[in-house]
């Protein structure tokens, strides 16, 4: 296979940006050719749905008929004052804010334990924690409804037998705890993912740093606080982002465990979008794909906005710290 020729140093001449770009593509044509399948698939299954969703949001359209009416921003004007939309919006963020910190902390703890070379059964434990990740979400949701059942469900039975509770708890039927019950299952189900990310990050830290610290008499906590945590920081931003975005995609679990109920107490954005896109259950009302697209677009932009703020905030914090460190070094030198 012929490799792409090395970049030739061209004579300075006036070239338009387009011709420069075309030339560069031509020079690296094999690279672009290898990227093409991935680009096509991304365009088809990621970019097209995103743009189509924005486009559909401008129409009054059920999604399956030919009579779509252009209504401009009316769907957005209807989304903004909709209490159900904001209820679902709030639940999505409550879900994310309660799940992500617990999941990441637990995953980090487990990853640190599994990263310890002294733990001989680490691969078995790693597999054990990862098995729920590869289990079908809908099946997990249905099985969990049985496990959490207040009548003969194992969790309630154990707690009753131990005398921890006097009456069975309706984990999925009590509006005060239904959402958090799903959060609990979601944490268990997806714990393996950030655990693998943390493990990968931990394995980038050179063992020599720990050995040097041990020579200096550092205990476990000081090694963790002054070596592990600082070196994990660049990875942490990415892991937090990936995990947070993943926690906003919990449709299958919520739909199978509570369906968003009781009375919208656990309805997250995806369930709201599904309900409006495909019509209310068992009723003769039309689905509203246009409206659901507007809700999805509005929510998507909001999440992107928040993620962008988070990235900038993280960069600003890093720069501040770097600046402080540089200043401290200068002070020390002087």
């Amino acid at each position: 296979m012929a490799l792409a020729p090395p970049l030739s140093v061209s004579k300075p001449r006036k070239q338009t940006a387009i011709s420069l770009m075309l030339r560069r593509i031509s020079q690296h044509r094999w690279v672009y050719l290898f990227m093409l399948p991935s680009l096509i698939l991304t365009a088809l299954f990621t970019l097209y749905p995103i743009f189509a969703s924005f486009y559909f949001s401008l129409f009054q359209w059920s999604g399956f008929t030919s009579d779509a009416y252009y209504i401009g921003l009316q769907n957005y004007q209807e989304v903004v004052p909709d209490k159900q939309f904001w209820n679902a919006f709030e639940h999505s963020f409550i879900f994310m804010l309660s799940s992500v910190p617990i999941k990441l902390s637990l995953a980090l703890g487990i990853a640190i334990l599994l990263n310890d070379r002294a733990l001989r059964l680490a691969p078995i434990f790693r597999t054990m924690f990862f098995v729920p990740v590869v289990t079908t979400t809908a099946i997990v949701g249905i099985v969990m409804t049985f496990i959490m059942s207040p009548f003969n469900g194992p969790i309630n039975t154990i707690m009753l037998d131990l005398g921890l509770i006097a009456r069975p708890i309706d984990f999925l039927g009590d509006p005060k705890i239904a959402l958090f019950s799903v959060v609990g299952v979601e944490i268990w189900k997806w714990l393996g993912n950030p655990m693998i990310y943390w493990l990968a990050a931990l394995q980038t830290i050179p063992a020599s740093l720990y050995e040097a610290a041990e020579v200096d008499g550092a205990n476990w906590w000081r090694k963790f606080a002054f070596i592990t945590l600082p070196l994990l920081k660049p990875f942490a931003i990415v892991i937090v982002l990936i995990t947070a975005v993943g926690t906003l995609n919990v449709f299958a679990l919520v739909q199978t465990m509570t369906g968003g109920g009781p009375y919208f107490a656990s309805e997250v954005m995806e369930v709201y979008i599904y309900r409006t896109a495909f019509g209310a259950a068992n009723s003769m009302t039309l689905p509203r794909l246009g409206y659901a697209s507007a809700a999805a677009a509005f929510f998507g932009v909001s999440v992107m906005f928040l993620a962008t703020i988070q990235i900038f905030a993280a960069r600003w914090a890093n720069r501040e710290r770097a600046g402080l460190a540089a200043a401290e070094t200068q002070l020390g030198d002087s």
Partner: protein, 511 residues
């Protein structure tokens, strides 16, 4: 307010005697094991191809699947070149499979329309073929059905028929099904007379006390939100708050107003709250769907459930040792009873795909024709029973049916009437249906919110629900008018509606 009809003890005993006679007669019939032999494939005159062909059919299954599996097996034996693929899918999958199939040109040859798609829409989008040119001897076949099954505006447009309601819709889904032993232990016999709502609550409490944590008085699939609306609506309707369905809400079509502010709705909700406060409701009801609740009954988890006749064949088949019986829904205001109103036409509408091959259209026509024969209706009634009642009353009488199923059908015959339909009166109201948006929260969700104490003021919530439903209907009518429909709120008012009588052509003519 409709005239109230009282069920006297004498009437009740008379109806029970008729039911018992029916059960006795049915018990003398053919054994169930021989039921499949009731299907005989005879030629309808359709031009069935001799070439190999695959014919595809999709519907919502349930007890219907028992008939179709037996029928298709026989049909393939009679036509060995025909392979039939039968897909029984839940409604939420039909809602996706059928539109996608039509869009791709690969829809099933026969399908049930998704609940959210009106016939007007299916016809205007070219989804469905007119049955007139496909079913052999169509006019004669259509005339064999009782009046009110094929209705212009509901099953067809401009003189063409596009929809075949395969079953009768004279049934309702909130009657009482109970564990005979538990109720006997509680000293209650619903066969002795209709239970009042107070009796119902007291019985549930007594059963729960007897159960001492092992079983409870009442169970329902509270996670399936529509059940909350169905139970409350029927409690109120049979007490006199009459209404018909429009979009995802109800309308009292004698006045044209939304009925939710009628105090009977609050009384109906109060029944559920009393059951809850007494601790008579099975734990976990809120996180259980209707099939799960159904499955718990034969396990002895609860004494009573308000559900539909489709439970009967399932329990008889899967739990032959379960000793249960049925009765009407308890009465909120005994002994007053107003029949449950259903829409004209039928239920389980099936359609022939417009783009199906000619050969497969002929097969579909042949099968549809069979269901319009007396033999076909008897076979349907025998195999499907009360779950999806056959349309011909004579076929129901002739069929070999389990006594409980026959009792259910006799009960529906007494308790269900056909109500008025705006679309029959003015087909332009179909355009309003296309505009109607779901109101959220609807009745079912509101009742669930009240039950779970997320809504404090039930009366205010029902007033708000009523206001939103009224506003949505007005908005949808205005939108339809803007697009050229000749329709008004007056089309939803039927001052001559008497819920004790079927609302037929004479009543429409009087308007």
């Amino acid at each position: 307010m409709p005239e109230k009809h009282k069920i006297s003890r004498r009437d009740f005993l008379k109806n029970s005697a008729i039911g018992s006679l029916g059960m006795l007669l049915a018990a003398q019939g053919l054994p169930l094991a021989a039921q499949d032999s009731i299907i005989n494939i005879v030629s309808s005159g359709a031009d069935i191809t001799s070439e190999p062909t695959t014919f595809r059919w999709v519907d919502s299954g349930d007890q219907k699947a028992v008939f179709w599996n037996a029928f298709f097996e026989k049909y393939m034996e009679a036509h060995d070149n025909v392979t039939i693929q039968y897909d029984a899918l839940p409604w939420n999958e039909i809602a996706q499979v059928v539109p996608l199939g039509v869009r791709n040109g690969s829809a099933h040859d026969v399908f049930q329309r998704p609940l959210s798609v009106s016939l007007a829409q299916a016809v205007s989008e070219g989804w469905v073929a007119a049955l007139d040119d496909i079913i052999p001897n169509f006019d004669e076949w259509k005339a064999s059905f009782p009046g009110g099954v094929f209705v212009e505006g509901i099953t067809g447009f401009n003189g063409k028929t596009y929809s075949f309601p395969a079953t009768s819709n004279k049934r309702y889904g909130t009657h009482l099904l109970y564990n005979v032993e538990y109720l006997a232990e509680a000293g209650v016999d619903p066969q002795a007379g209709p239970l009042s709502a107070d009796d119902f609550v007291a019985t549930a409490k007594k059963i729960t006390e007897n159960g001492a944590g092992r079983y409870f008085g009442f169970i329902m699939g509270g996670n399936q939100v529509n059940r909350w609306g169905a139970i409350v609506r029927e409690f109120a309707r049979i007490a006199g708050a009459i209404s018909m369905n429009v979009g995802n809400f109800d309308l009292d079509m004698s006045t044209g107003e939304v009925p939710y502010t009628n105090p009977l709705y609050l009384d109906a909700i109060d029944v559920l709250l009393r059951l809850r406060d007494d601790g008579s409701v099975f734990p976990g009801t809120l996180s259980m769907n209707a099939p799960e609740a159904r499955a718990r009954m034969p396990q002895g988890a609860a004494g009573m459930i308000l559900q539909g006749p489709w439970n009967i064949p399932i329990w008889l088949r899967e739990n032959p040792d379960f000793n249960f019986n049925i009765a009407g829904q308890p009465l909120l205001d005994p002994p007053n009873f107003v029949p449950v109103s259903v829409g004209p036409g039928g239920s389980n509408e099936i359609h022939i795909y417009a783009e199906a091959s000619d050969a497969n259209k002929q097969i579909a026509g042949d099968i549809f024709h069979y269901l319009g024969t007396f033999e076909g209706q008897v076979a349907w009634a025998t195999l499907v029973g009360a779950a999806d009642p056959a349309i011909f009353a004579e076929a129901v009488a002739e069929a070999d049916m389990q006594p409980l199923e026959r009792a259910a059908l006799l009960m529906f015959n007494e308790q269900v009437r056909v109500g008025p339909s705006p679309i029959v009166r003015n087909p332009d109201t179909a355009a309003v249906n296309l505009e109607l948006r779901p109101i959220t929260p609807n009745l079912a969700e509101t009742v669930q919110g009240i039950y779970t104490e997320q809504i404090d003021d039930a009366a205010a919530a029902l007033q708000d629900l009523s206001d939103r439903a009224n506003a949505e209907l007005d908005r949808a009518i205005a939108a339809a008018v803007e697009k050229g429909a000749m329709v008004s709120r007056e089309d939803y008012i039927f001052p001559n509606w008497d819920p004790h009588q079927d609302y037929g052509e004479d009543f429409y003519a009087e308007l």
